[in-house]
Amino acid sequence: MDSLLGISSTMLYSAFILYLIATFFFGATIKESKKQDNKNVSGKIGITITIIGFLAQIVYFITRWIASGHAPVSNLFEFMTFFGMGLVFAFIIIYFIYKLNILGLFALPIAIIVIAYASMFPTEIAPLVPSLQSHWLYIHVTTVSLGEAILSISFVAGLIYLIRQIDQTVRSKRTTWLEIVLLSLFIFIGFSVISTAFNLSGYSAEFEYSFNGQTTTTDYHLPPIAGPNEGELLTGDRMEPLFDAPGWMRGVDAARKFNTLIWSVLTGIVLYGLTRLILRKRVGAAIQPFLKKAKPDMLDEISSRSVAIGFPVFTLGGLIFASIWAQVAWDRFWGWDPKEVWALVTWFFYAAFLHLRLSRGWHGERSAWLAVGGFAIIMFNLIAVNLILAGLHSYA
């Protein structure tokens, strides 16, 4: 049993490293001359390594399934990891349709960030409560994250489009927004960096606080900038919180999650700031020259095609299979639970996207901004709804 879990985590780790290596090969395609371009050697190596990495991750998935006895999509770690895998899968499909190397240079790092982010959550195998013991759960979760992954490729293409197309000679609202989008990617990296750093140092500080009239404790693994509301520090020799989290923050560990968020944002900003210092220009402006080879038409096409492919998959998984499961488990197929509502919001958003594109001619840059917005909603649903808005699905 233990050895199986061992294999499983090794495989996940290998996949992670392979994606990283593949990214460099896709990066190398930028520098290739026209003649080399036709052979596309780096691109072929890149996609081969990506596929090997993907297979490794499949092995991770299967071995973990065998070890735990249920499909590993039942907590935030497993779910986010699966989403990362979906991203790679969607990228592979789109790559074989359009053969666009630059897509790998952006899609794989995003998958890497997602997997790194996932690994910061508790990874032990948890038993399933009765409502989760249903095949429909697996079918629902896997389809919905595949759908979301395909929709995310539209964000990847849209982001490349924006970096390539937005005029970087002067500062404008658009350059600022683009920097904000890039900054948010840094914040994800910031979360992984800071969590790893303090995990390695073994930091821990315990607090006691009252929750719904009961006294509870919570264990901080990052130094408390924001402590629990009216909490008391139990571990000696640790810094006192700079301030208390506001009282309306609900959920068992709301304050700790809030503290983690502050740390991630701060670290992200520092990383971003350092990058800017080194580059001496906007991050978007620094990347732009490398994207000259990508045809904007093609990027626009990929972005809209991914929505066209992903929307039906998302509808099936996020609304239809979700309803079937909810019907079997809770006797109501729709209950306005926050997670359900946000699936509906995502669906409305992409429906609006399609209508704007089709009937009102929102192509190119507008469509790319919409793709960014869609991804923001997906991430909100994956992360914020679980962590902030408590609901039936609330895993972590």
């Binding site: 948890a126 009765p130 309306w248 039906p312 488990a329 306005w336 509906l344």
Partner: protein
Amino acid sequence: MDKIKCECGHVNPEGTVLCEACGKPVEKNQHIDGNDKRKLLNMRYDGSARRSQTYNKSIIDKTWNFFSSVKVGVWLIVLALIASGLGTIFPQEQYIPAEAASRDPSIYYEAQYGILGQIYYQLGFHNLYSSWWYLLLIALIGISLVICSIDRFVPLYKALKRQRPRRHTQFLKRQRLFSETDHVTDDEKAKLISALKRKRYKVYEENGHILAEKGRFSRWGPYVNHIGLILVLIAALLRMTPFMYMDEYVWVREGEQTVIPGTDGEYHIKNEKFILETYDEDDKRFEEAIAQEGMVEKNFQTNAVIYKETGEKIAGAEPELKKVKEEKIKMNHPLKFDGYTIYQSGYQQNEFNSMTFKIHKKNDPDEASLGSFKINLSNPKDTYKLNNGFSVTVSQYYPDYEMEEGEPRSKTNYPRNPAFVFSVNPPGNEESEMSFVGIGKNVDATGENDYKLGIENFEMRYASGLSVKRDYTIPLFIIGAAIFMIGVIQGMYWQHRRIWLHPENEGMMVAGHTNKNWFGLTKDIEHIIEDTNVKMVKDQQEIE
């Protein structure tokens, strides 16, 4: 109606932008699709005459035009999106946690979230999804959907049916993909046609003019999916009627039998046994997680029997019952019978099933038992005779004991906190003694008793929470969802591609149109002109 006759001879309905047959722009109507300002033709609906773009006089026209505008439709969707999101800021009323100090919404929101919570409550956002304005918004989307679809489907259908292979050159030149080749041999032309056929295009010919077409059915995708959506909305509407949708909840104690609510007393359910299982702490796989999170439920189930009343109902008489079904109800495994569905929803373990008391001498420090007796708390006897000659009479029984204004009473009829006043009659003719016994209470009223009663043992019982549903709308939801999926897949995974070959003197014009996936169409054309001198089409709408 002012029909428009085109130079090709076809008679078009009023409001036509591009002749249905040959595609020649109808001069006076170019502003409708914005063709007057652009090089390329707007091909969205093949330039067909839409009602919404043609009439705008009466109030009916204006309403029609309002709802058939995609701009309005998108606004409605965006509003619904924002409203839905708002409803998740704080929990909806039904999700107020059970352990909250007060579940009264007028108190809860303010107590928990302060001023923002109060505003939230006062705006009615705690019941947002059943508010009149949210339902109105959804209804408007439905209306918009229907009108929008009719407005476009009918003319588009006609235009595609009446299109002819021979197109006007103005039409071809203003397509997004276009090329013109000066010399094309008959041989090459034959090659093109066979290549088109190999690519599974349907090829139509008219005097040497070719129309190759593929996937027209995908154009109906949006209309099919909108029909599916409408069915779902109708199902949701029907679900608000009690006949179509019934929703009840019932608690059944272990061993108890009750009438199933919502069935007009026709059905009864018996809870034979309730089972609760938790995960084994020693299970290696879950050790760590259980150590962190505590006990985790694995399963809870009710072994239930369903009975149906048979024969005539006679007031006062016990009904005759016939067994209908015997099944284990678990989460994710509901029980179904005669259109009803029973779900395992929850359980409670706060009632006692039985208690065992023992008698001992009051001054015996070891409290050695002189005899014991067991009371079935749902049905206590008047007197319990013990083997050794003692007998105990139950003088008072409070199943759910509490003190109110100095008087003992029972809060409910359920044995949640049982208490007794016993009269103990020792063997022989000793005088009987009164004592009061409950959980954590043992009072000797006179202070002169020789014997004392103690709780030796007890059994708890489970009450199983079952929800009872009858929902006739489900099939309609399923049909609607299925049609929706068919429609989106039809519209998204196929495309309507058309390629026109237009002989012109010695040469040939090639034009192409698709409703999406231009990349795919370009590939098709590339493939088709292989091995010929025909020029590759140029994309006349490149973003730079």
